[in-house]
Symmetry: C2
């Protein structure tokens, strides 16, 4: 079909991996996988083979798009397989074992709001489930259909809507189509001297619409941590009609319309474009890394900095395990990475003041650095490489995944201890081998912080998914007991529904179900995300 | 009834005015009113008399509360009259003329969530409209029933729920009952060294719950301008049940539950308590006032400051009329008042940098100040006195009211010009006398600003309300044409519904109506606010 040619053109010869993170050519090779596996006793002697789409059984589509939409829709098996799941560890492992999630019947690449609306109308008439799909980097089951197996499924890939449509240079804002991937977005803004500065780990492989629909966390560690804060106006196409909020710097007119769709994860409508608040590129930068013997003291330092008016752009605390893993420190220290930036004024004084607060809590500059090695740079390159290494470890049969949360400061130390202890014990019991459970703080607030955990453990290929699901369940129980959110910036998807349902206040649940019923009366949009279809039938 | 004794005890002998702003003893006396009127040609020679509750016709209540709730409910005529309306100019004038809005049948002062829920249950069973009421300072018809005159109405005054229940000093947060008035809230926080620092003009006469339900704008001119940003968790009692969101510094789990109730203006539920993010009291402060010959240049200066990382606490720009009115300047200059504060570090450098940006756009420090007179202080005392003066002018038959909005920077200069020109022309036409239409910016953003307008004109007692409503309609048309929000921080209430309905995106309207139907199935909560009851019946 003609639609198959609509997949976004990257001006590069690189190919996206259908089964794993990012670029196919960036994955560790068999030798590297084997070397990594050797560091984790109990893993395989050689890696599981890279899976091939041609080995999958892909049924003929259960539905066919009408002729009027055929230009936007493809039934190409490779496109369908690449849209079956997100990129969580459990997704990667299922692909490695040739058992991916439900492969959608069709993939659409709409190029306009009109096509989005037409697709929704057709899907509503035929009861076809529609999964909005940006870069496909969901790590919480956000783009995978898990409902009635007899229902037809269409993956709606927005990446053909990938242009910056309008730039208000003086007002530092731009109207941007939702399907644009991070690098292309920044490429299109650069000639105007502007930047969104939203750099999640998935930057290369996720879209503006995905960031908005999942309330993604980005570049800034303090103050404006989520994409929400950079949103000036949204355009949303729903089965019940489309609408655009006004471009406003702020408003007090009723509940924020945009805040209902931010985080709606494709369950209430399809975000097709947004006016985003931009920044001038920073010209003043200053950063430092401090070592702490005591993680508890480092937490206090971070709390002091987060509670001040200093507003660092970067304020990431790595515990000793995380610091060792990323190469930021090898002597058992925890490492605090601080960064300030501004387009307007030098930030050295602010850095000095933040370093002063860190020193007052026992921080020491740079002592653990070997030679000229820069902890900031080490951290950054390790950060972008991590998902590839995770997939390499998955090929060795290992457990290798992350999850994140946020809690108020009174909860943070106990929460981190409990996750380490209880997830570690559960991993030992399940695998027979000790696990690494590391922690870093990615975003910090005057009233709390967002801990991000990495779990590394041996595993067996026959039960990798089951063991990880068990560990995640244990983690979810710890989070719930400490009243820590089930997700700070990875979205609810399907994987986090149990925790989400427990934490969501009942009046909001009632309101959300009612809103879903009004906007998506046939229950076609991302079924099972945020709201159960059975709730709508009640 | 016993409930009559439940009105909040202020430890003061001062009495609240039932018909006008604030304290009864703070109103200008007849001589002052006459002197003010003399400045506005065309007003009365002597003021309208202060209205008395005893002159009102107050019918017997159409309903009686059940015995189980009688302790919480009063039918006292004075209490009922004082809960009939908010404190907009049009409310004050109607009271002056002995024609207040619908006087509620009953006033309740619940002391617990249980009583709130019981009152809602009783009201639902009997079809009684319930108007949640905080300090009663609404300036947009938010606390006045305007529906079917045969329907019984209960004003639910939350001010008996006025305590700080819990303080997390280390986490800088407190759990606070919604009915607490500003001064009592700060009094209760002071022993802990903490402050909410939310100081709207109505601070003495408005409650935390009112601020939350109306998305009030507060102390800070930049970054965290609305109460929304200081909200950690909300407790809401709705006719369909109660719920509390978790205390979280941030979360990405679905759309923000709190953001649906922030700005819900009592139409979705009653906010009974909240965990609020607090601050340590600032110890470092620095401020300056700059004069600008050109208002346009001053706007550019403000845009530069708002777009920088300096984040002043105060950044208020007064046009020449507003500067003259408040005593900040008498030479035709516009005046920019800048203020910085911090609990952590000296802010002199930041002030210097902001002043530098202002100077680069033609700002001059202090030249128009007469002697040691401080524009900052002059502005502050005039600010708190203004609503009293407004009421004094109302007694002279004058038109004297304000309204505010927000728009992106590309719209701001044209919007301000159009409001001045078109509202001024409409006032001249309606009254036969020239009007003052002044403007200040109260809150500023990298992408826009919140202009706040003051309108002063002669008027005639027989058509003060009609003339003002006409001017407000003209203003609303200008705002709509310039895509400026119908309110930045004064809420929608009933007065702003036409503008609100035009600006609200249709998918959000559908979702909001559905949410209202789910949470308030009998349509008892603040009928006519945000959503029409007829919408629910459809």
């Amino acid at each position: 079909m003609a639609g198959a040619t609509r997949t976004t053109t990257h001006h590069t010869a690189r190919t996206r991996s259908w089964w794993g993170w990012g670029w196919a050519d960036a994955h560790p090779d068999d030798a590297e996988c084997t070397a990594m596996g050797a560091l984790l006793p109990g893993t395989l002697a050689r890696p599981l083979p890279v899976p091939r789409i041609s080995d999958l059984r892909i049924d003929r589509p259960a539905v066919e798009a009408p002729r009027s939409l055929s230009g936007a829709v493809t039934a190409d098996p490779a496109a369908r397989a690449a849209h079956a799941m997100g990129k969580a560890y459990r997704d990667v492992v299922r692909a490695l074992h040739g058992r991916p999630g439900r492969i959608p019947d069709l993939v659409a690449h709409p190029e306009s709001d009109r096509e989005v609306a037409d697709l929704l109308e057709w899907a509503g008439e035929h009861g076809v489930a529609v999964i909005p799909f940006g870069g496909g980097s969901s790590v919480s089951g956000g783009v995978e259909y898990r409902g009635d197996r007899h229902r037809a499924v269409l993956s709606m890939d927005l990446t053909a809507m990938n242009r910056v449509l309008e730039v208000d240079v003086a007002g530092r804002a731009a109207r941007i189509q939702a399907g644009v991937l991070g690098p292309s977005l920044e490429d299109q803004l650069r000639p105007h001297g502007l930047t969104l500065r939203h750099f999640p780990q998935s930057f290369e492989f996720s879209t503006l619409g995905g960031w908005l629909a999942t309330r993604a966390g980005g570049h800034y560690a303090t103050v404006h941590t989520h994409i929400d804060d950079f949103t000036q106006s949204l355009r949303v196409v729903t089965p019940a009609g489309a609408g655009t909020s006004w471009r406003l710097p702020a408003s007090g007119a009723g509940p924020s319309p945009d805040r209902l769709f931010l985080g709606s994860e494709g369950a209430l409508g399809v975000i097709t474009e947004a006016w985003m608040r931009l920044r001038e590129r920073p010209v003043h930068k200053a950063s430092a890394a401090l070592d702490f013997e005591s993680f508890a003291a480092a937490l206090e330092a971070v709390r002091a900095i987060a509670g001040s008016d200093l507003a660092p752009a970067n304020c990431r605390l790595l515990d000793s395990g995380e610091a060792a893993l990323s190469g930021a420190s090898q002597d058992g220290s925890s490492v605090l990475v601080l960064g300030f930036e501004s387009a307007d004024f030098p930030v050295d004084t602010r850095l000095e003041q933040a370093v002063g607060l860190a020193r007052a809590h026992g921080g020491r500059i740079g002592e653990s650095r070997d030679g000229g090695r820069d902890a900031v740079g080490a951290w950054r390159s390790a950060f972008l490489r991590m998902p590839y290494l995770r997939d390499g470890l998955a090929r060795m049969g290992a457990i290798a995944e992350t999850f994140e949360t946020a809690a108020t400061w009174d909860r943070v130390p106990g929460l981190i201890d409990a996750v380490r202890t209880e997830v570690g014990a559960a991993a030992l019991k399940a695998t027979g081998h000790p696990a690494l459970v590391n922690c870093r703080l990615t975003h910090v607030y005057p009233d709390g912080a967002a801990p991000y955990f990495t779990v590394l453990a041996a595993g067996r290929p026959d039960d990798q998914v089951a063991v990880w699901d068990h560990l995640k369940e244990v983690a979810g129980e710890v989070l719930h007991r400490h009243r820590a959110t089930i997700t700070h910036h990875h979205a609810v998807g399907r994987d986090h529904r149990p925790g989400y349902d427990l934490q969501r206040p009942e009046p909001f649940a009632l309101a959300l179900r009612a809103a879903k019923g009004a906007l998506d009366p046939h229950g076609i949009l991302n079924p099972g995300v945020l709201v159960d279809l059975v709730d709508l039938v009640d």
